[in-house]
């Protein structure tokens, strides 16, 4: 119901039926609040609405109110493109946040670059910011970074031969390719490489084959959605006695619940500080930020906070920080200010952008987590 109201409101705003009382800065967003990627877009939409409310209650940016024009592209790249065009031409926004998936992001990029409007993407693929495009930024770590973080941990545990079981969805396929691209840098060899469909109900044949691979020491599962939960359950069913690594795609409490605490025991994955907000030491620079976001989000929506909403949180913070520093709402000035972002603490890490780096995160932003007794622990 909430989404429907939001969409209706957004549409009303777009049609100009609601008029703003005072001067305002218009920020555009198109996310996948419904459709197959709704588990990404739904918390993102809720986060953006919440943050705009908070910001306006605190007096806006430099005394000006912020208005959010939010569209739901339902994960459809064509719709995302249409909405991006509408944001630029009809709504005259100063910047765009959104693109929950890599697909929708790619179609927004074309529009944002043409119109020279800053765009902060919430999607994972490295292609978004590599090569660097002048007006395009993003907040989530790339899947390549997730692979690197995992391989670092494997190397530390002296694991040299691993099996890969990847989902064939966009996320799984992309991360599988990235992992294969960087695995050689860590002296690790992939001795088994299997896949599964995103809606498959049983992965025991693939796991049986991986289990039987010569000299195998660990299993890595790039993927998200139901697949990784079922892989974890099957892995317990087959009593495979190897370390199991999952991707950041499943970094949420829901994963432990779906996979079952017993099956998920000992699973390691790279996650953000958000997931372990309570475990962070007080000295951690991210502690205050993630705790504030977690408390506010959970109080407002009644649902547990997740990594994806955190991406939207960071995008909004980067943007409002840039507008504040730019002291103007001119898109070109905002772009320059975003590029000059330095030491901004978000939920995914500390962001320092440059002309050659439109992501601004390093590997330290990822925490290696391990599931113990049905909860998260930080591996150091």
């Amino acid at each position: 119901m909430k989404t429907l109201t939001t969409t209706a409101l957004a549409t009303l705003m777009a049609l100009g039926l609601t008029t703003a009382a005072s001067a305002e800065i218009k920020i555009g967003a198109t996310v996948s609040a419904t459709g197959p990627a709704s588990f990404l877009g739904d918390p993102e939409a809720k986060t953006l609405e919440m943050l705009v409310e908070e910001l306006n209650a605190a007096g806006g940016i430099n005394g000006e109110e912020v208005a959010l024009v939010l569209y739901d592209d339902a994960g459809d790249p064509n719709k995302a493109r249409t909405f991006a065009t509408r944001l630029v031409e009809d709504d005259e926004v100063v910047a765009i946040i959104g693109g929950s998936t890599t697909g929708t992001t790619m179609s927004i990029i074309a529009v944002a670059e043409d119109a020279e409007i800053p765009f902060i993407s919430l999607a994972g693929a490295i292609e978004i910011i590599d090569p660097v495009k002048p007006f395009v930024f993003k907040t989530p770590h790339t899947d390549r970074m997730a692979c690197e973080k995992i391989f670092e941990d494997m190397k530390a545990r002296q694991i040299a031969k691993i099996g890969l079981i990847s989902g064939t969805d966009g996320f799984g396929a992309s991360m599988q390719a990235q992992c294969k691209a960087v695995v050689g840098n860590y002296g690790i060899e992939i001795v088994a490489d299997e896949t599964y469909g995103p809606q498959d109900a049983d992965m025991t044949p693939q796991l049986t084959n991986i289990k039987g691979a010569e000299g195998i020491q660990a299993i890595l599962n790039p993927g998200f959605g139901q697949g990784p939960s079922i892989v974890t359950r099957n892995y317990a069913q087959l009593a495979i006695d190897l370390p199991l690594y999952q991707s950041h795609g499943v970094a949420s409490d829901g994963f432990i619940e779906l996979a079952g605490a017993a099956a998920a025991e000992g699973v390691r994955l790279p996650g953000t500080a958000l997931l372990v907000a309570d475990l962070l030491p007080d000295s951690d620079p991210q502690k205050a930020i993630v705790a504030a976001y977690k408390t506010a989000f959970e109080a407002k929506t009644g649902t547990p906070v997740g990594t994806f909403g955190g991406y939207a949180h960071d995008a909004f913070r980067i943007l409002t920080d840039a507008i504040t520093r730019a002291g103007s709402s001119d898109p070109a000035a905002i772009r320059d200010a975003i590029e000059a972002t330095s030491g901004l603490v978000g939920t995914t890490g500390t962001v320092t952008m440059s002309a050659t780096d439109h992501l601004g995160l390093d590997l330290s932003a990822f925490r290696m987590l391990e599931i113990k007794d049905g909860g998260w622990t930080i591996v150091e």
Binding site: M1, T3, L4, T34, P36, S38, F39, D42, E194, T195, Y196, G197, Q199, D200, A201, D202, T204, P205, Q206, T208, N209, G212, G225, Q226, S229, I230, R233, A236, Q237, L238, A239, G254, E257, L258, G260, A262, A263
Partner: protein, 290 residues
Amino acid sequence: MSELMQFLLSGVTVGAVYALVALGFTIIYNASDVVNFAQGEFVMLGGMITVFAFEAGLPLPLAAVVAIAVTAGIGVALNKLAIEPARGAPVVSLIIITIGASIFIRGVTQLTFDKQLHRFPAFSGDDPIQVLGATILPQSLWVIAGALAVFVGLFFFFTRTLTGKAILATSNNRLAAQLVGINTNWVMTLSFALSAGIGALAGVLVTPITLTSYDVGIALALKGFAAAMLGGMGNPKGALVGGILLGLFEALTAGYLSSQYKDAAAFVVILAVLFAMPQGIFGRKSTDRV
């Protein structure tokens, strides 16, 4: 040896899931020649309603019964509100109506419940059972037993009971069926209720294995439909055998060939079977006795 056994057990587990969905297709097809593409949504509703009733505090068996009853009601509503008013329309139009209904049900579910994945505990725990060096989960046995029970039930229903035969007669020739005194409206209502109920039962049985969310119905319907086509549309025996075969193809391809080709191999086999036997393995002969 233990590897082959594991592939077979995996195939039968997944195949039983497909078979349960395919069995649901059988009844509505038998009554009306319509392939009901909302069948996957019935399965999804069975799982989702059980999850939310269970989380609301109902004991699991009661939650399952509630889910099956509510879904059967939705099946009846689908017939009354969407299919019956369009009576006389070509079968293709009716099939398109079911596709529309499936999109509608998915949308309403997403708004009433949520968009997250859910599961509830397996009926008999999660401790795997050892079979000749391979393992199977107790829940898989529930699914297999469920598929067999529904199959036997439907088999007797269609061959031994007057109501079952009335359904077949309605399918064969609606006018002739009316002339011999069969209430064809009632037959249609009954078949939608039964089909939805069976779909929901499938959802209840498979959710601990496959997990559920508002959009799992599409993939299940597709695989269930493929299984039904393979076995022969409208025949419970065909649905059961088609489902298990499809599961076995997938598991053996993933095990011995490559998991990349799993889905493709299964569909290639189905196409090959349909080329050789256009009616499916146990399909009805195309000549009808009048």
